[in-house]
């Protein structure tokens, strides 16, 4: 029997809401997933639909990798032959020496989850994890990445299972438009390791006291996440999402659908 196609990644409530708003589109959405035009229609029928914006955000947050073909070496002035690992798979390509890691990911490897906000190191939208450290891919030349191991937002989930930080961002509604979200999540994932190592920050009470595995206050989380700007101002929810993954206690979800479901 053919497997029943289902709407991935939508809660019951979201699915019901979609059905109500766009009954005609529903069968198409179910067979081929949510397309850009569905979002546009959603915006049209609902005005500034919170649901549509929310779903857009989820698209960003879950960005997945698409298989891409290995490319043959190209002849370019100052071309660099590069071999590095991206989300676990080895990539070999020739890049212009001027190409940043961000453009390489987006334009050559079709990994468009990492976003270009400012392209000058000032916003954090392009944050990826290179050799276990969060870095800015817009200021990293691809040529410097030989033999390195890069993890992007597309590489965080295991199959259909979200990384706990991704799940927590959904639970706590840690985004609105979703543009900064891949960077926020990559940054937050690396931050968990930094806290486990006992790394200090500018607001650490006493840098001379070094202990493994520190417990971060909200002030600490805010300071350590200050390299990721959110123009939608989702900061309180981002802090909640991180606190949940970082701490051992569940953090209460502060939003609900209009009908009272969560």
């Amino acid at each position: 029997m053919e497997e029943q196609p289902k709407l991935p990644d939508l809660s019951e409530a979201e699915r019901n809401a979609l059905e109500e708003l766009m009954p005609d589109e529903m069968s198409e959405i179910i067979t081929s997933g949510i397309k850009r035009r569905h979002f546009l229609k959603l915006f049209a029928v609902t005005g500034t639909s919170v649901l549509a914006a929310h779903l857009l955000g989820i698209e960003q947050l879950m960005a997945r990798s698409m298989p891409i073909e290995q490319q043959a070496p190209m002849l370019i002035e100052n071309g660099i032959n590069l071999s590095f690992k991206v989300n676990g798979s080895t990539q070999r390509l020739t890049v212009d020496s001027r190409m940043t890691l961000l453009d390489t990911l987006r334009e050559r490897l079709n990994l468009t989850g990492s976003k270009k906000g400012c392209d000058h190191g000032q916003c954090g939208a392009c944050t990826v994890i290179v050799d276990d450290q969060r870095v800015l891919s817009c200021l990293t030349l691809a040529a410097t990445c030989e033999d390195k191991k890069v993890t992007t937002i597309e590489g965080l989930a295991t199959g259909n299972e979200l990384h706990p930080m991704q799940a927590s961002f959904i639970k706590h509604d840690g985004f609105q438009c979703g543009y900064c979200t891949p960077g926020q999540i990559c940054s937050a994932v690396a931050l968990m390791d930094e806290a486990n190592n006992g790394d200090a920050s500018y607001v650490t009470a006493n840098v001379r006291k070094k202990s493994k595995s520190i417990k971060l206050s909200d002030e600490e989380i805010r300071e350590r996440m200050s390299g990721n700007i959110c123009r939608c101002g989702a900061y309180p929810n981002i802090v909640d999402a991180i606190r949940e993954v970082h701490g051992d206690k569940a953090v209460a979800q502060v939003w609900q659908f209009a009908d009272g479901t969560i």
Partner: protein
Amino acid sequence: MRPFKYSNASDAATAIGIVSANPTAKFLGGGTNLVDLMKEDVMRPTELVGVTRLKYAKIEKKVDGVSIGATATNSFTANHELIREKYPLLSMAILAGASAQIRNMATNGGNLNQRTRCTYFYDVSMPCNKREPGTGCGALHGENKNHAIFGWSEECVATYPSDMAVALAALDAVVHVEGTNNTKRSVQFANFHRLPGDHPENDNNLKHGELVTSIHLPVNQFADKSYYLKIRERSSYAFALISVAAALVTDGNTIKEVRIALGGVAHKPWRASIAEHWLIGKQATEANFKAAAAAELKNAKPLQHNKYKVGLAAKAITRALEGAMQGGVYGAMEADSTTTNNN
């Protein structure tokens, strides 16, 4: 970006050889400053040599102090046990700068060689003697609220942006440098960066092709009483309007040794030697800190839009010294450490 050749150097001699042979070649550390400036077309190297794979990434204990490698990252340095324990001032200063992502990329050598954040320097349609000697200084009679109050010249009124360097100035660090044919030299931190004079195009006294290999921190007794205070327009991820690295050794309440360095006030980290001198042998009281700060700031020469920096620097010196006396513990001093500038 303009075209450039790129290579990853595996040893220092090769890196130094390549850069020395080409007047428009540059070393590339984490790239957080140079790549940005190349995108802005402010810097136009024709060749880059990546130095982050060189064997200069260690932090080591020496008989006479601690040596920190030039290619170690800012994050690694700030979090290293030896630095946190013996030179907390340096950890605090590094952690006050940029963002976690940038500190993970930035190298210590690159940090010392970062360029000014003067907006005229960044805008290629503006005059700027530092970017293009002879074109004039856009900031001198222009918008200069972020500029220098000490040591500037008519040719350039820019400030030096590094937080790390302010702590290194207070700690009397020594910079180890390597040139062609394996020539090595050591530069006292006070002589590493320079005042603009007639040649603002030179930020420091490194010769073209010289590679910073390590930074030496001499032994000192400041660890118990040191503090880095950074005043900026938002509480994180912003450059300093004023910053102060302060460190003391006291006997009872009498000041035996004191170091004060200021950021955001000059073309190089500014050692407040007048204030330091004034404080030796005195009691560590707020009144004395204020008097010492006033003595230092008497010589300030503010520009049209940065007179606020004179008062702000005096208060910041006082607060930083108080913070140091309280053991450099964050929170004791931070109730209102951010300030908006209402000049």
